[in-house]
Protein backbone atom coordinates (compact mmCIF):
# COMPACT_ATOMS: atom_id res chain seq x y z
CA UNK A 1 0.00 0.00 0.00
CA UNK A 2 1.29 3.49 -0.82
CA UNK A 3 2.03 5.83 2.10
CA UNK A 4 -0.45 8.47 3.32
CA UNK A 5 1.97 11.19 2.21
CA UNK A 6 2.02 9.78 -1.33
CA UNK A 7 -1.77 9.32 -1.41
CA UNK A 8 -2.44 12.85 -0.14
CA UNK A 9 0.02 14.28 -2.65
CA UNK A 10 -2.02 12.73 -5.46
CA UNK A 11 -5.54 13.36 -4.16
CA UNK A 12 -6.31 16.38 -6.31
CA UNK A 13 -5.02 14.78 -9.48
CA UNK A 14 -7.29 11.85 -8.57
CA UNK A 15 -10.26 14.22 -8.15
CA UNK A 16 -9.40 16.10 -11.34
CA UNK A 17 -9.23 12.86 -13.31
CA UNK A 18 -5.69 13.68 -14.45
CA UNK A 19 -3.87 10.85 -12.63
CA UNK A 20 -2.71 7.76 -14.52
CA UNK A 21 -4.76 4.55 -14.36
CA UNK A 22 -2.01 2.90 -12.26
CA UNK A 23 -2.04 5.80 -9.75
CA UNK A 24 -5.85 5.68 -9.57
CA UNK A 25 -5.72 2.02 -8.56
CA UNK A 26 -3.05 2.68 -5.90
CA UNK A 27 -5.00 5.61 -4.42
CA UNK A 28 -8.30 3.72 -4.40
CA UNK A 29 -6.64 0.78 -2.62
CA UNK A 30 -5.17 3.20 -0.07
CA UNK A 31 -8.49 4.98 0.49
CA UNK A 32 -10.27 1.67 1.15
CA UNK A 33 -7.98 1.09 4.12
CA UNK A 34 -7.18 4.57 5.46
CA UNK A 35 -9.88 6.53 7.24
CA UNK A 36 -7.75 9.63 7.77
CA UNK A 37 -7.02 9.97 4.06
CA UNK A 38 -10.74 9.56 3.33
CA UNK A 39 -11.30 12.67 5.45
CA UNK A 40 -8.64 14.49 3.50
CA UNK A 41 -10.12 13.32 0.19
CA UNK A 42 -13.56 14.51 1.26
CA UNK A 43 -12.15 17.90 2.21
CA UNK A 44 -10.29 18.22 -1.11
CA UNK A 45 -13.61 17.42 -2.80
CA UNK A 46 -15.38 20.11 -0.72
CA UNK A 47 -12.66 22.66 -1.40
CA UNK A 48 -12.89 21.97 -5.13
CA UNK A 49 -16.66 22.46 -5.06
CA UNK A 50 -16.15 25.59 -2.94
CA UNK A 51 -13.91 27.12 -5.64
CA UNK A 52 -16.47 26.30 -8.33
CA UNK A 53 -19.25 27.90 -6.22
CA UNK A 54 -17.14 30.98 -5.49
CA UNK A 55 -17.06 31.61 -9.24
CA UNK A 56 -20.74 32.61 -9.11
CA UNK A 57 -20.69 36.13 -7.79
CA UNK A 58 -22.67 39.31 -8.33
CA UNK A 59 -20.96 41.55 -10.85
CA UNK A 60 -21.02 45.36 -10.62
CA UNK A 61 -23.87 46.49 -12.90
CA UNK A 62 -22.21 49.81 -13.81
CA UNK A 63 -19.06 48.05 -15.07
CA UNK A 64 -21.13 45.56 -17.11
CA UNK A 65 -23.09 48.48 -18.61
CA UNK A 66 -19.91 50.29 -19.65
CA UNK A 67 -18.45 47.14 -21.20
CA UNK A 68 -21.68 46.46 -23.10
CA UNK A 69 -21.47 50.01 -24.46
CA UNK A 70 -17.89 49.33 -25.62
CA UNK A 71 -19.12 46.28 -27.58
CA UNK A 72 -21.87 48.37 -29.20
CA UNK A 73 -19.41 51.09 -30.16
CA UNK A 74 -17.02 48.54 -31.70
CA UNK A 75 -19.74 46.68 -33.62
CA UNK A 76 -22.72 49.04 -34.04
Amino acid sequence: MISCAKAVQQLWEYLDGTSTQADRVLIEEHLKRCRRCCGELEFAHELRAFLVDAAHEDLPEDVLRRLNRTVEELDP
Binding site: A55, V71, D75
Partner: protein, 193 residues
Protein backbone atom coordinates in the same frame (compact mmCIF):
# COMPACT_ATOMS: atom_id res chain seq x y z
CA UNK B 1 -25.83 15.83 -40.96
CA UNK B 2 -24.14 18.72 -39.22
CA UNK B 3 -22.02 20.75 -41.61
CA UNK B 4 -19.03 22.54 -40.08
CA UNK B 5 -19.42 26.29 -40.15
CA UNK B 6 -16.96 28.18 -42.31
CA UNK B 7 -16.93 30.96 -39.70
CA UNK B 8 -18.80 32.14 -36.63
CA UNK B 9 -22.54 31.98 -37.25
CA UNK B 10 -23.07 35.04 -35.08
CA UNK B 11 -21.55 38.49 -35.19
CA UNK B 12 -18.99 39.93 -32.80
CA UNK B 13 -21.59 41.97 -30.97
CA UNK B 14 -23.75 39.01 -30.03
CA UNK B 15 -20.88 36.70 -29.07
CA UNK B 16 -19.07 39.36 -27.03
CA UNK B 17 -22.22 40.41 -25.15
CA UNK B 18 -23.00 36.81 -24.28
CA UNK B 19 -19.48 36.23 -22.93
CA UNK B 20 -19.10 39.58 -21.10
CA UNK B 21 -20.19 38.51 -17.58
CA UNK B 22 -17.88 35.49 -17.70
CA UNK B 23 -14.96 37.56 -18.99
CA UNK B 24 -15.47 40.20 -16.29
CA UNK B 25 -15.64 37.54 -13.54
CA UNK B 26 -12.46 35.96 -14.81
CA UNK B 27 -10.63 39.30 -15.04
CA UNK B 28 -11.71 40.27 -11.51
CA UNK B 29 -10.00 37.14 -10.20
CA UNK B 30 -6.92 37.59 -12.34
CA UNK B 31 -6.19 41.31 -11.98
CA UNK B 32 -8.59 42.59 -9.29
CA UNK B 33 -9.23 46.32 -9.68
CA UNK B 34 -7.82 46.40 -13.22
CA UNK B 35 -10.52 44.00 -14.45
CA UNK B 36 -12.59 46.54 -16.40
CA UNK B 37 -9.52 47.86 -18.24
CA UNK B 38 -8.35 44.32 -19.02
CA UNK B 39 -11.76 43.40 -20.51
CA UNK B 40 -11.76 46.65 -22.53
CA UNK B 41 -8.34 45.69 -23.96
CA UNK B 42 -9.64 42.19 -24.68
CA UNK B 43 -12.75 43.45 -26.51
CA UNK B 44 -10.70 45.76 -28.70
CA UNK B 45 -8.18 43.05 -29.63
CA UNK B 46 -10.90 40.46 -30.21
CA UNK B 47 -12.79 42.83 -32.50
CA UNK B 48 -9.65 43.57 -34.52
CA UNK B 49 -8.94 39.84 -34.95
CA UNK B 50 -12.52 38.61 -35.26
CA UNK B 51 -11.90 37.32 -38.79
CA UNK B 52 -9.43 34.80 -37.28
CA UNK B 53 -12.19 33.04 -35.33
CA UNK B 54 -13.16 30.07 -37.50
CA UNK B 55 -15.90 28.54 -35.40
CA UNK B 56 -18.42 30.23 -33.10
CA UNK B 57 -18.25 27.28 -30.67
CA UNK B 58 -14.59 28.13 -30.06
CA UNK B 59 -15.48 31.71 -29.04
CA UNK B 60 -15.29 31.11 -25.25
CA UNK B 61 -11.76 29.70 -25.31
CA UNK B 62 -10.66 32.17 -28.01
CA UNK B 63 -11.87 35.16 -25.97
CA UNK B 64 -10.43 33.67 -22.76
CA UNK B 65 -7.07 33.25 -24.39
CA UNK B 66 -7.06 36.92 -25.48
CA UNK B 67 -8.23 38.06 -22.03
CA UNK B 68 -5.55 36.03 -20.26
CA UNK B 69 -2.89 37.78 -22.33
CA UNK B 70 -4.43 41.20 -21.65
CA UNK B 71 -4.51 40.41 -17.91
CA UNK B 72 -0.88 39.31 -18.00
CA UNK B 73 0.09 42.60 -19.68
CA UNK B 74 -1.86 44.53 -17.03
CA UNK B 75 -0.34 42.42 -14.23
CA UNK B 76 3.18 43.04 -15.49
CA UNK B 77 2.54 46.79 -15.82
CA UNK B 78 1.02 47.07 -12.32
CA UNK B 79 3.23 47.78 -9.33
CA UNK B 80 1.25 45.59 -6.93
CA UNK B 81 3.20 42.58 -5.76
CA UNK B 82 1.63 39.47 -4.22
CA UNK B 83 2.58 38.48 -0.68
CA UNK B 84 6.07 36.92 -0.66
CA UNK B 85 5.60 33.17 -0.83
CA UNK B 86 8.19 30.44 -0.49
CA UNK B 87 6.95 28.05 -3.17
CA UNK B 88 9.45 25.35 -2.23
CA UNK B 89 8.23 25.08 1.37
CA UNK B 90 4.56 24.33 0.67
CA UNK B 91 4.64 20.65 -0.28
CA UNK B 92 3.85 19.41 3.23
CA UNK B 93 1.13 21.94 4.01
CA UNK B 94 -2.37 20.52 4.42
CA UNK B 95 -5.28 22.84 5.17
CA UNK B 96 -7.31 19.82 6.26
CA UNK B 97 -4.79 18.84 8.92
CA UNK B 98 -4.25 22.50 9.94
CA UNK B 99 -7.96 22.96 10.63
CA UNK B 100 -8.20 19.60 12.44
CA UNK B 101 -5.26 20.67 14.62
CA UNK B 102 -7.33 23.62 15.83
CA UNK B 103 -10.14 21.34 16.80
CA UNK B 104 -10.05 19.88 20.32
CA UNK B 105 -12.38 17.13 19.08
CA UNK B 106 -10.73 15.57 16.05
CA UNK B 107 -12.99 14.10 13.37
CA UNK B 108 -15.72 16.64 14.10
CA UNK B 109 -18.12 16.38 11.17
CA UNK B 110 -18.59 20.02 10.32
CA UNK B 111 -15.46 21.93 11.37
CA UNK B 112 -13.89 21.90 7.91
CA UNK B 113 -17.14 22.97 6.31
CA UNK B 114 -17.53 25.71 8.94
CA UNK B 115 -14.11 26.99 7.95
CA UNK B 116 -15.00 27.15 4.24
CA UNK B 117 -18.36 28.80 5.02
CA UNK B 118 -16.52 31.80 6.54
CA UNK B 119 -15.15 32.75 3.11
CA UNK B 120 -17.32 34.92 0.86
CA UNK B 121 -16.54 35.70 -2.83
CA UNK B 122 -14.60 38.85 -1.77
CA UNK B 123 -12.39 36.78 0.54
CA UNK B 124 -11.74 34.19 -2.16
CA UNK B 125 -10.70 36.97 -4.55
CA UNK B 126 -8.44 38.49 -1.89
CA UNK B 127 -6.76 35.13 -1.27
CA UNK B 128 -6.30 34.54 -5.01
CA UNK B 129 -4.66 37.96 -5.40
CA UNK B 130 -2.02 36.89 -2.88
CA UNK B 131 -0.77 34.17 -5.22
CA UNK B 132 1.82 34.82 -7.91
CA UNK B 133 0.09 35.14 -11.30
CA UNK B 134 1.81 31.97 -12.53
CA UNK B 135 -0.15 29.88 -10.01
CA UNK B 136 -3.30 32.00 -9.76
CA UNK B 137 -4.07 31.63 -13.46
CA UNK B 138 -4.52 27.82 -13.64
CA UNK B 139 -6.64 27.78 -10.47
CA UNK B 140 -8.97 30.43 -11.84
CA UNK B 141 -9.22 29.15 -15.41
CA UNK B 142 -9.52 25.43 -14.56
CA UNK B 143 -11.49 25.35 -11.29
CA UNK B 144 -13.49 28.55 -11.46
CA UNK B 145 -14.04 28.89 -15.19
CA UNK B 146 -14.32 25.19 -15.99
CA UNK B 147 -11.73 24.80 -18.77
CA UNK B 148 -9.83 21.52 -19.09
CA UNK B 149 -6.14 21.47 -18.17
CA UNK B 150 -5.43 20.51 -21.79
CA UNK B 151 -7.35 23.54 -23.07
CA UNK B 152 -5.38 25.88 -20.78
CA UNK B 153 -2.10 24.32 -21.98
CA UNK B 154 -3.17 25.07 -25.56
CA UNK B 155 -4.14 28.65 -24.65
CA UNK B 156 -0.77 29.28 -23.02
CA UNK B 157 1.22 27.30 -25.57
CA UNK B 158 2.96 25.24 -22.86
CA UNK B 159 3.15 21.45 -22.28
CA UNK B 160 0.34 19.74 -20.35
CA UNK B 161 2.76 18.67 -17.59
CA UNK B 162 3.74 22.30 -16.99
CA UNK B 163 0.12 23.31 -16.37
CA UNK B 164 -0.44 20.26 -14.12
CA UNK B 165 2.61 21.21 -12.02
CA UNK B 166 1.45 24.83 -11.74
CA UNK B 167 -2.05 23.69 -10.80
CA UNK B 168 -0.63 21.44 -8.08
CA UNK B 169 1.47 24.23 -6.59
CA UNK B 170 -1.39 26.71 -7.03
CA UNK B 171 -3.72 24.50 -4.96
CA UNK B 172 -1.13 24.15 -2.21
CA UNK B 173 -0.45 27.90 -2.17
CA UNK B 174 -4.18 28.65 -2.15
CA UNK B 175 -4.73 26.35 0.86
CA UNK B 176 -1.84 27.95 2.76
CA UNK B 177 -2.91 31.48 1.90
CA UNK B 178 -6.51 30.67 2.93
CA UNK B 179 -5.24 29.70 6.34
CA UNK B 180 -3.02 32.76 6.73
CA UNK B 181 -5.76 35.09 5.46
CA UNK B 182 -8.21 33.59 7.98
CA UNK B 183 -5.72 34.14 10.79
CA UNK B 184 -4.91 37.71 9.77
CA UNK B 185 -8.48 38.87 9.18
CA UNK B 186 -10.02 37.17 12.21
CA UNK B 187 -12.20 34.86 10.11
CA UNK B 188 -11.23 32.00 12.40
CA UNK B 189 -13.10 33.59 15.27
CA UNK B 190 -16.31 32.44 13.60
CA UNK B 191 -15.18 28.81 13.69
CA UNK B 192 -16.20 27.00 16.88
CA UNK B 193 -13.16 25.58 18.67
Amino acid sequence: MVVAQAGPDRGFRELAKEQLPRLLSLARRLVGDDAEDAVQDCLLKAFQRFDQLQDGAAAPSWLTSILVNCCRDRGRAGARRPVEIDVESIEDFSLYRRIAHEDPFPYSDSLHLDFLAEFGPEDVRAVLMRLPELYRLPLVVVYMDGFLVRELAEMLGVPLGTVLARLHRGRKLFEKQMWEYAEETGLLRGVPR
